[in-house]
């Protein structure tokens, strides 16, 4: 299904608001949305909520023969599924550009940064190695899938327990993920775009860093031109944010470990908040539609088009945008003939830009 196109008004509003450093949901320019990490019942399954964007990652492993060129290294495989569940714009089956982009970015971010020691995945050199497969499923798309996917993948990897196979029997050991690599996405000058902002942006810069302040991957996409200073500034911001997010991940892992030890029930069902309204349906209010076309044509004939410039937008409450102030009611109430005509004339005088056609408004 094709996406509903973004109207020009909305686009202008968002761009003007960004210029004035206001964001639609009340965040500051470099603020992240609320990140919530929960774990599933099995080891290696984790859910990440980035605002309303929801993503699930599952890690699984299998014993396979290694690649011929690298006989003593394990194999890491990443896969992001963009299912139509997340957004009606995603079509099932066909691999879209976005899907390829996300997959490649995730692969580059984790594989090249060598955050997992692949040599430790080797069981018998040249014959059997572990193939670790990370599947990320998008459940709800509200912008910034890349960040959510990377956080989910690394948390799932840290959470996963790989069975250790030896000749005698089986033991459980933790897969050593050496350091957490986290991606951060910037679009123009904003951090962590939500879905609307993503549609408006010209391009984005993705920086993946780990907590040792090493940059694992940088990727600029979209058709924007960058300057060196902008890239350096973004990388500085990234280092600050990455340490925050890594903190969050380790805390979540800690909590989960404690919960499991204490024997509490954990899993997806437990993590859903109870007693919350998630969807609301209201009846449509009836509107009187008689003679609407004639009235509309009348009004359009009399008055000029509104000025082109977009007035400064206001964000009075998160999720609510306001552009300009309302003007005087110019529809007029049809109570008495004399009064209504007076009102019309008064109102017309208030708007100095309107040209009065002499014949039109007669008293």
């Amino acid at each position: 299904m094709k996406d509903t196109p973004l109207s020009n008004c909305e686009r202008d509003f968002l761009l003007k608001a960004i210029e004035e450093k206001k964001r639609l949901d009340g965040r500051q320019t470099y603020d992240y949305r609320n990140i919530k990490i929960t774990f599933g019942t099995d080891y290696g399954c984790c859910f990440v909520d980035l605002g309303k964007t929801r993503v699930m990652a599952q890690v699984s492993c299998e014993l396979v023969a290694p690649k011929e060129t690298r006989p003593n290294e394990g194999i890491l495989f990443f896969n992001i599924e963009l299912s139509p569940m997340a957004s009606p714009a995603f079509e099932p089956g066909r691999q879209s550009e976005l899907s390829v982009k996300l997959n490649r970015q995730l692969e580059r971010c984790f594989r090249n940064s060598k955050c997992i020691d692949t040599e430790s995945l080797c069981v018998v050199s040249g014959e059997k190695v572990w193939q670790i497969r990370v599947d990320v499923h998008t459940l709800n798309h509200d912008g910034n899938l890349m960040d959510a996917a990377s956080i989910a993948a690394i948390t799932a990897l840290c959470h996963f327990r790989r069975p250790d196979v030896s000749i005698q029997g089986e033991e459980i050991t933790v897969v050593s993920a050496q350091h957490s690599t986290v991606c951060l996405i910037y679009c123009t000058s904003n951090l962590d775009p939500c879905e609307r902002e993503e549609r408006v942006m010209d391009g984005l810069l993705m920086i993946a860093m780990n907590k040792h302040r090493e940059i694992c991957s940088i990727q600029s996409s979209g058709g924007i031109m960058l300057l060196k200073e902008q890239v350096l500034r973004c990388s500085k911001i990234a280092s600050v944010k990455v340490s925050e997010i890594t903190e969050l991940i380790s805390k979540a892992l800690e909590n989960d470990k404690k919960a499991r030890k204490a024997g509490e029930r954990c899993g997806f069902a437990e993590s859903m908040p109870q007693e919350r309204i998630t969807a609301l349906k209201m009846d449509e209010t009836p509107v009187e539609m008689k003679n609407v076309t004639e009235k509309a044509e009348d009004i359009v004939k009399k008055y000029e088009a509104p000025p082109q410039s977009v007035p400064s937008p206001l964000v009075p409450a998160p999720g609510v945008g306001q552009v300009g102030q309302g003007q005087q009611n110019s529809w007029g109430l049809e109570e008495e003939d004399g009064e209504s005509e007076e009102e019309e004339e008064m109102v017309v005088e208030d708007q100095p830009k309107n040209k009065l056609d002499q014949g039109e408004c007669c008293k």
Binding site: K101, S220, M225, K228
Partner: protein, 245 residues
């Protein structure tokens, strides 16, 4: 490869270059008669061929026509004989699609697409021999091909891959250096304004070194732009000499 020293104590690399030296660039424009623009470039041992068709009417899906500018369609592929092992899938795999997207993004930023609304510009690049710096050589080849086709651009788009070894940035990596676990940064630059059209980096690099890497990459790109400029002017002279006769 533990045994190979990517940068010796005297400052020489595996192929005898110094750290900031680029490989030898040889290029030709107007290689094919059928295409609107074409170019062939050799950067060291990496050889790439680029062909441009356009601007022409939108083919394929008419719904993708943009009312105010041209659509740029890029395809990147590697010949099956370009790498040491025969490539089973020259195009359609994830890496090629990603490269094509990057090329498209780079040229969308550089070409003046506003001059050709409702039309399409096709850029096809093929790597004939891959010896490191694939993306950069493609961009350089495509730039020459677009200039050959007469499509106006804001500036030359020059690209270069830079690596980092022993606190020194190495310009224009070759295949062994790229696979030696060196952090590599590919940068596509419009030299006059210093604007970066594409920035891509793999492998771990400490944040403090980022600035040095980017500086080195920008200087290398400016070097490449001088060479490309020479090639274009020479081609123009030859073409005008022939047509005068």
């Amino acid at each position: 490869m533990a045994g190979l020293e990517l940068l010796s104590d005297q400052g020489y690399r595996l192929d005898g270059r110094k750290a900031t030296e680029l490989r030898k660039v040889q290029a030709r424009m107007g290689v094919f008669a059928q295409a609107d623009g074409s170019a062939y470039i050799e950067q060291g041992n990496t050889k790439a061929l680029a062909v441009v068709y356009g601007p022409h009417e939108m083919r394929g899906s008419r719904s993708r026509t943009l009312h105010d500018r041209a659509v740029i369609n890029c395809q990147y592929s590697m010949a099956t004989f370009s790498t040491a092992e025969r490539k089973r899938r020259p195009h359609g795999d994830k890496k090629s699609t990603e490269m094509s997207l990057h090329l498209k993004q780079t040229f969308e930023a550089a070409i003046l697409t506003q001059l050709y609304p409702r039309s399409q510009i096709d850029i096809f690049v093929k790597i004939l021999q891959a010896d490191g710096g694939n993306y950069s050589v493609c961009v350089n080849a495509a730039t020459l091909a677009v200039i050959d086709a007469g499509i106006p651009m804001r500036d030359y788009v020059c690209a270069c891959t830079v690596g980092f070894v022993d606190e020194t940035p190495l310009a224009d990596l070759c295949y062994t250096e790229e696979n030696g676990g060196v952090s590599s940064l590919a940068l596509a630059l419009l030299p006059r304004g210093g604007q970066i059209a594409l920035l891509q980096m793999d492998a771990r690099l400490h944040q403090d070194h980022l600035e040095t890497m980017m500086e080195a990459a920008m200087i290398a790109c400016k070097g490449v732009s001088k060479v490309l400029d020479e090639v274009v002017r020479q081609h123009l002279q030859e073409a005008s000499a022939l047509s005068r006769d």
